[in-house]
Amino acid sequence: MPVSAVTTVTVRALLFAGYADALGREVVTVTVPAPATVGSVVAHLRALPGGDRLPPRPLCAVNLAHARFDLGVTEGDEVAILPPLAGG
């Protein structure tokens, strides 16, 4: 008799600049239900204290590369939430 395994994905979320100020930290370990996406990690962060200062769809990167909001993330990924870029 098959059981519905409760599976989750844990990623390392990085916050920078004003977003780090908003949440009061630069690294957050985030565990969300599988299948997880960039968007579900962001939604989790926005529910944390101060998270309402993150926009609904911030710029994001997964494992050092820019990532679309619907990109899937897997266990151990590094998911970076990027405030508006101001280099150059």
Partner: protein, 152 residues
């Protein structure tokens, strides 16, 4: 050669990196810290980066430029504390034809601004501090009184 530099940028060094006897035209760009932003007087600023990704993006931008044009390119971005007049970004692109040099140089600065994860915190003469947000109407995010206590 790291693209992120904690020390002052030297355009001459970048020019030397790209110059070769085959490439007669070298286009460069230098972005320096201005003394004003959004009507406020800037005293100094700090650039912070998501360093490993910023290095990767800079390398990808350089690779894209050399794939698209017959050029040699060099690209550096300063991080850390900068004063007004300091160079924040330096780019050099050398080619046999100046069209390619100019186009590659322009491409690189546009892509740096668009893609490289670097942030700028400005300290104003009136004592306020703000993260620069080029997408916001005033160019800055709301001032955060506690920002000076944090290091990005």
């Amino acid at each position: 050669m790291p693209h992120l530099q904690g020390q002052p940028l030297d355009l001459g060094r970048l020019v030397a990196q790209v110059t070769s006897p085959q490439r007669g035209g070298i286009a460069c760009f230098l972005g320096v810290v201005r003394n004003h932003h959004g009507g406020r007087q800037v005293d100094r600023l700090e650039y912070s980066a998501y360093a490993p990704m910023a290095e990767g993006e800079c390398a990808r931008i350089a690779a894209e430029a050399t794939a698209r044009w017959d050029v040699a390119v060099a690209l550096e971005h300063r991080v850390g504390a900068l004063a007004v007049g300091d160079a924040a970004v330096a780019i050099a692109a050398a080619a046999s034809h100046r069209d390619a040099a100019f186009e590659a140089c322009r491409f690189i600065i546009e892509e740096v601004k668009r893609r490289v994860p670097i942030w700028k915190r400005e300290y104003y003469a009136d004592g306020s501090v703000a993260w620069v947000d080029p997408t916001a109407p005033a160019g800055i995010q709301a001032a955060m009184p506690d920002a000076a206590a944090r290091s990005g």
